[in-house]
Amino acid sequence: MGLEYVRISPGFEKYMPKDYVDLVQYGQFGKQIDVQQLGQFKELVEEHPMCAGCFMAYFIRIFYASLPKPEDTIVIGTAGCARLALSQAAVPFIYGNYGDTNAVASGLKRALSIRFPDKEKDVVVIAGDGGLMDIGFGMTMHSWFRREKFTTIMVDNEVYGNTGGQESGMTPKGVQLKMAPKGKQFDKINAAELAKVSGCVYVAKLAPTNPKRIAKTVRRAILAARHFGPTFIHAYTSCNIEYSIPTEKVLEDARKREKQDFGFYEWMTDEVKEFFEEIEKGQEVKA
């Protein structure tokens, strides 16, 4: 897209849907929004059909509020729950075939660099644990081996949520699911460690308990991908339906998992560290 495509041509304001006018006048385009302003500006996702209390939906809400340049971003998703919200956003969305997201993103990012050599275009994949670590595993790994410059965000609900509860490689050992009645037999894949040894320049792992920290992490992952190489965020985003978490306890569950195995983790190469030290100098970046 680009800012010039978002703006409404003078005189046409009254013919545009109100939601769109609000988006342009009170939204994020062309501005750097602070996530703490949520509730006081028009969000990029108008509404979505994800379940009540879904923390994947929550993470996606914070993700959009964190984008450094929404008007120059393309999001790639696939089958799985996340795309239900991603496809509703006022940010171009490409539906990669299940498992193919990181191959599609690789091609897209390369094409954008050729077509717009002087512009910064951010590409972000958001897909599930099944999409990235099981069925799309080969594509995910090869985008990292090849140092493709885009961000991959795994919204890990530790299950195939959209298809009714099959176990994934990210399901913790021993967990019983509707279609894993004997309990998962193997350990949860250590995705962050894989990312680190496979070529990612920035890797983070988090539970969505602190919106400011999510925002900082998303921004860092996108900026590092813009300049240096592949970046990866592993986010715990519970599925209250398949894990039978009462909706009012979803945040409590995230806080519990943060203390157990989803403590905030962030790793980056020295080069990336220096870059952030430089650009974040003087900014209030503590989360």
């Binding site: 509730g39 006081q40 509404e47 979505h48 929550y58 409590e252």
Partner: protein
Amino acid sequence: MYYVADVDEKNCAKYNCKQCVLFCPEPNTLMYHDSKHVAWVNYSRCKGCAICVYVCSDLLKRNCIQMVMMTAGE
């Protein structure tokens, strides 16, 4: 009939807080009033998860949000 969150504005106004707004999974739903400094709910969009109640009552002990029954169209 369905459940929605409802903010006790008078009570909320004491705190200049906004924490619940930052944890709702729904966009453009739990809003914050710029000048009144209170949270408010767009009832037609609230899905009734009560995460905001957990934030306000369980975490902050401020008890300014309640779940209430509503009839469509109200």
